[in-house]
Symmetry: C2
Subunit: 252 residues, 2 copies
């Protein structure tokens, strides 16, 4: 079994996945806080490589923290061959309609690659709900842009940090509205507000492209919280970012 390893250095945590030879499944994954990337990256890759009892075909490193990506590439190249940096290149099978693709988030590129690979020629609304929430359009292999919103935890944290009086609220608990305590008011506003914003964004996309039959796919840890509140259904792809990252070397 010739597997590959995909690495996504996110704003909060670094995720690693051992990806099946057909790039369809994440066979094993691990993660640690992104601030500890240099300490843990080699051991984490070694651990995944051991699980895979044959050869690691390639390792692809992606992420928004530039320095951590560069240092990780250096570290891994000392021990492994075929270590790639995930980034936009002209060889990718998706055309990106974007002002400056070099600053387009690698997670959004990875999602577009996955969408194009798994659902070729289809029109997709792709929701990524991590530290930030992205809702992007992929219409017949063309990335047509999207929106970025603060993620649920980012909103909760910012209300606490940027005000003197508001408490630090967790996602767990009553979020029905109208809230009858400050915790409930915050949860009711943030969870329902975000879900309803997504609902309207999805509807707006459908209005803008009335002839497309959209498939909605989603990924990210916060989706579990949002999916019961939104009125639309999305197919949840648990490791979409890592699967998208793992596709990169196919197009070199």
């Amino acid at each position: 079994m010739i597997c590959s390893i995909a690495i996504d250095i996110g704003n909060t945590r670094t995720h690693l996945g051992l990806i099946s030879p057909d790039n369809r499944t994440c066979l094993k994954r691990s993660d640690f806080p992104s601030v500890q990337t240099q300490e843990h990256i080699l051991a984490a890759v070694n651990d995944l490589a051991e699980t895979c009892n044959r050869e690691i075909k390639y390792i692809t490193v992606s992420g928004g923290i530039r320095n951590a990506v560069i240092q990780s590439l250096e570290t891994l190249r000392k021990s492994y061959e075929n270590v790639h940096e995930f980034k936009y290149t002209q060889g990718l099978p998706v055309r990106f309609e974007y002002k400056d693709v070099s600053v387009l988030g690698s997670d959004r590129i990875a999602h577009a690659l996955y969408g194009n690979f798994a659902f070729p020629g289809q029109s997709l609304i792709i929701i990524g709900s991590g530290t930030a929430i992205t809702v992007d359009l992929l219409i017949k292999n063309e990335f047509r842009g999207g929106v970025i919103l603060p993620g649920l935890n980012m909103q909760l944290n910012s209300l606490h940090i940027s005000t003197d009086a508001l408490p630090d609220v967790s996602l767990k608990g009553d979020f029905s509205l109208p809230g009858k305590s400050t915790e409930q008011c915050i949860r009711a506003g943030v969870i329902n507000g975000t879900a309803w914003a997504l609902e309207k964004i999805v509807n707006k996309y459908k209005e803008l492209f009335p002839s497309e039959k959209f498939r909605i796919i989603s990924s990210g840890g916060a989706w579990a919280q949002l999916e019961d509140v939104v009125s639309f259904r999305a197919e949840f792809i648990p490791d979409m970012t890592l699967l998208g990252v793992s596709l990169f070397p196919c197009y070199l």
Copy 2:
């Protein structure tokens, strides 16, 4: 003309208003950064008191920054009589259905007081759009709770501060969706997302209380940005927080 002065020490800026004897109009206002409250508060009050060529009936100090409120009260009481701290008391003409009214934001109490005073016996949806956005329900003189969301600038700042890759985006510029640049994606997500969240929250309130005929009133600096995006109409009350604060001594 016997005026009063209302002071609101907000998370970002401290606002002062010279309020007309009938508590309906803010005749003159001034503001400065809240971190400079102790430096500026007495001079700013003196300045407003000079504008009013008779007597200042009372001064009411409100705000979410507890220490700044207490210090301001001390400072002002050395020079003025009838300096009050705005806070919940049982004498207020609004009944608050809330878990712990002592931690309910003073801006939200002020808005409820203003709503009750200006539109007695009516059912109101009250939107305050400052550092945070609040959407509260006042049904026939009863405060029935609400929601709290991060304000527009708070969302823009948090996306920049909490991620390594996202830029610091201002509210000004194209916010149509889908965004074709990272700036536009953020603006499109934050402005439309927040407006649509508010729209759905307002609709949900109407659904929950189908027999009420709601009047929607709003205040705060960010409303100008939101009012063109939401589908509902709200009456904008420019100085609603200060007007609400100025009402407090009437109920002592």
